[in-house]
Assembly symmetry: C2
Homo-oligomer: 481 residues x 2
């Protein structure tokens, strides 16, 4: 256990990285790795290795690992699989601690020869005390150390860890999550897991002081003996969210050709997760929603929501979708009703939960003041656990002249959220408008909410589902402890 | 029945519209109605009515309805509720055929006095043979005639009708749906339904030659006696999609303060829909997804999908989410496997369903040619009912230099879709990136797919769910007939 923690410390904090297969061609991954390490400000040494180039991206390039004068902690390999046995040999001489294999076309092909080659490589690495990440993976994103495999990921670090057997899912979770305010401690795309596997990484993340929330995308468990215990241990220490790939017949077939994993039985998996007390996500989008909820809204102590929407149909939808997804939208308590009546004799009893903000429009005539006061009362009241506010983008941003009103609504939500002690979620539709002004306006207000510390969800159903999962987790956790 | 069809023909095709409460203030709805009618090119007469203005938006304004020289078919009212009895009187003298009441603060307030006023108005209108739409609604969008209540709606007409008790939902369905290629025959926001109600409109739409697909958002049924029969009749004639507001306790409370409706029992509602053979949507987003599916992918005859994704994890997710949502992702049939092996001896047996397009990347080395051929074979094969292709935006649009590759993938999907007789759906994540180039690139490619006749879905789960609902509908329809 101490040994593995040390090995992984080296991997996440190398003093030098060699990219074997580094390239001068910007379309090659061997170019991208070098470029992105520089862009992210990795402070250790970067050594491109390529038999044919003397310089790559302004860095001296070496024909082979052995030609590098200084020591090499960590190697990224983008060379074809056939070159790996020789690479391991060279790395051994150079006392490299770990190799990450972007290199693929190994066991995942299902071909006997490739499966044998992967085993051979894993064996050689083990014999030489070299740890392997992969093959068939993107490797490590550790923003604090300036290590990344995508130019799009946030440069700033955070406290969410994501361990993923799929590279594609890391792009989706880190990029999409980043836009929604998630910041990551460590992200690992670990592919076929021929050496370091889910048990090693989850154990490390459970003890990693940078990591407060663990998320995992897994296709098949390599170390079935230790996995249940390690998962339980992690979930006891930190909120742990898992998305399982290959839960259906077709998914399970896809898993075997993706990372050469055995998907296993869904029923056993579900039981394991229940016992360990982890949160299961159904889709990548739901995983991001849950991570956003855990990052921004903790602690959530119950499911009673005060809802403010900006329209009649929207209010009905918010109420239905909250309740359909496991939250409750209680009527306003009698003391709030009495207080509203006292202050607003004519309008007080027209205000309900959900609060329909559109009734301030001409003709309806309920004063905004009364609605805001109702929101404040809900925000303070012990019979509510959280607030959800909908900005009703479609209606409010109908015309470019109304951008100010949209900003005003968002500012109002933020103010109420800041003055209250309640967790508050904001629903704002995606900024996917073909009109530039509307796209820009939504992106700007999203960013404003996130900066103010409030999470954004693209639909009320997605907000309610994720919040409900986290409440369930918190409540059952409270029971266990 | 013939009478009601005639009344509604007048409403959808008026020769003249008076906006009572027209305003010179761009923030008022009384300004917007006039402005939008002009913007949409309504060819009949537009008469602003306002006791204090002589001209609004360049049009002569009249102190009252009676001062207009020509005849007035249709009146839009934005005046306060208290002015309505007098308005009905004036409209009666002027032989107005219909009034749409944007005017709210009537029965939906729950106040006795307002409920009585709404009844009084409905009674006066009926006595004077004036039909009412609303109160508390946005009215009519009939693009073919240049009638609209939102500047954002498509100017071009189509064949989808949407009847909605919520104005907010019309903004969402028409705007969001419009961006995804839906075009509408007629959209009606009908609010409290004090006169014309769901039965009148659904019956009209069932017989309307412009309308091929009917969609309905309903909070409470006013005419419970005729509703089941009319719904059944409509669903027998055209695909009919319904979203019910107020299916939960909280939703049902919200419904009563939104449109003064009684939400009714969920169980009875579900049975009614099942018997009538309508498609039920759970959320507004799902309603849009289903309408997109019905518009672009008919006829869908089965649930066997050939899937092409652009990544390993993405392929697993596509397989899982298709099967979790009621579609099936069968293994490649033996004749396709044999054909692939024959043409591509080394790679043929590595290709599966889902097809993982990322394996063309360096190192993996399966030729794009082989994958494309596999897609073509699936597209032609009788054991597949449709294709779903995922553009894997996050991965492919990682860097601005890769826009060309993204375009290439979309072009390839479109080509395969065009050459094949199979329905084909494209999954493309929302264009909600904060980077302008990425937003623009996605918006452009979305538009390209739609122009080529292929529907866009933001996630595979949403695509699979909507497609599955439509397949279920088609199969049970085939059984019934």
């Amino acid at each position: 256990m101490i040994k593995i923690m040390q090995d992984l410390e080296y991997i996440f904090n190398p003093r030098s990285i060699a990219v074997v297969g580094a390239s001068r061609n910007p379309e090659k991954q061997g170019y991208r790795y070098v470029e992105i390490l520089r862009e992210f400000g990795f402070e250790g040494k970067i050594y491109p290795v390529n038999p044919k180039a003397s310089e790559i991206l302004g860095l001296k390039s070496y024909p082979k690992i052995g030609d590098i004068a200084g020591s090499v902690d960590y190697v990224i390999s983008t060379i074809p699989a056939s070159g790996l046995p020789k690479l391991i040999e060279e790395c051994s001489t150079k006392r490299v601690k770990a190799i990450q294999l972007y290199t693929g076309r190994l066991a995942e092909t299902g071909e006997e020869e490739s499966i044998r080659l992967e085993e051979e490589i894993a064996h050689a690495a083990q014999k030489n005390k070299i740890r392997l990440i992969g093959p068939n993976c993107m490797g490590i994103y550790h923003p604090k150390e300036g290590i990344s495999f995508s130019a799009n990921f946030p440069k700033e670090g955070g406290f969410v860890a994501f361990l993923s057997q799929s590279a594609g899912h890391t792009f989706e979770v880190v990029y999409r999550g980043g836009v929604r305010g998630l910041r990551f401690s460590k992200v690992i795309s670990y592919g076929n897991a021929s050496d370091l596997n889910e048990v090693d990484f989850i154990r490390y993340l459970a003890h990693d002081p940078e990591t407060k929330i663990i998320s995992v995308y897994i296709e098949g468990v390599r170390d079935t003996k230790h996995f249940p215990h390690v998962l339980q241990e992690a979930a006891r220490m930190k909120p742990t969210v898992i998305l399982k790939g290959g839960r259906t017949d077709a998914g399970s077939r896809a898993v075997s050709s993706h990372t050469a994993s055995l998907a296993g039985s869904r029923a056993i998996w579900d039981a394991l997760c229940r016992q360990a007390g982890v949160i299961q996500a159904d889709t990548v989008e739901e995983m991001v929603d849950i991570l956003v909820t855990l990052s921004f809204l903790s602690p959530l102590k119950g499911r009673r929501v005060g809802v403010a929407g900006a329209g009649g149909g929207g209010s009905v939808a918010m109420a239905d979708e909250c309740e359909n997804n496991g939250l409750t939208v209680p009527p306003l308590p009698s003391d709030i009703v009495a207080e509203l009546k006292r202050l607003f004799p004519h309008e007080g009893n027209l205000i309900k939960n959900p609060i329909d903000l559109s009734v301030t429009a001409e003709g309806a005539g309920i004063m905004l003041e009364a609605l805001l006061y109702a929101m404040e009362l809900i925000a303070k009241h012990p019979e509510f656990d959280l607030l959800i506010c909908d900005t009703a983008v479609e209606r409010v941003l109908e015309s470019i002249e109304w951008q100010g009103m949209f900003q005003g609504i968002v500012a109002m939500f933020i103010q109420i959220g800041k003055e209250s002690k309640k967790p508050m979620a904001v629903v704002m539709r995606s900024a996917d408008s073909p009109e530039e002004w509307r796209w820009k306006s939504i992106v700007t207000e999203q960013e404003r909410c996130i900066q103010a510390g409030f999470p954004i969800y693209p639909t009320i159903a997605r907000a309610a589902k994720a919040i409900s999962e986290v409440v369930k987790y918190n409540l059952s956790n409270a029971t266990r402890q």
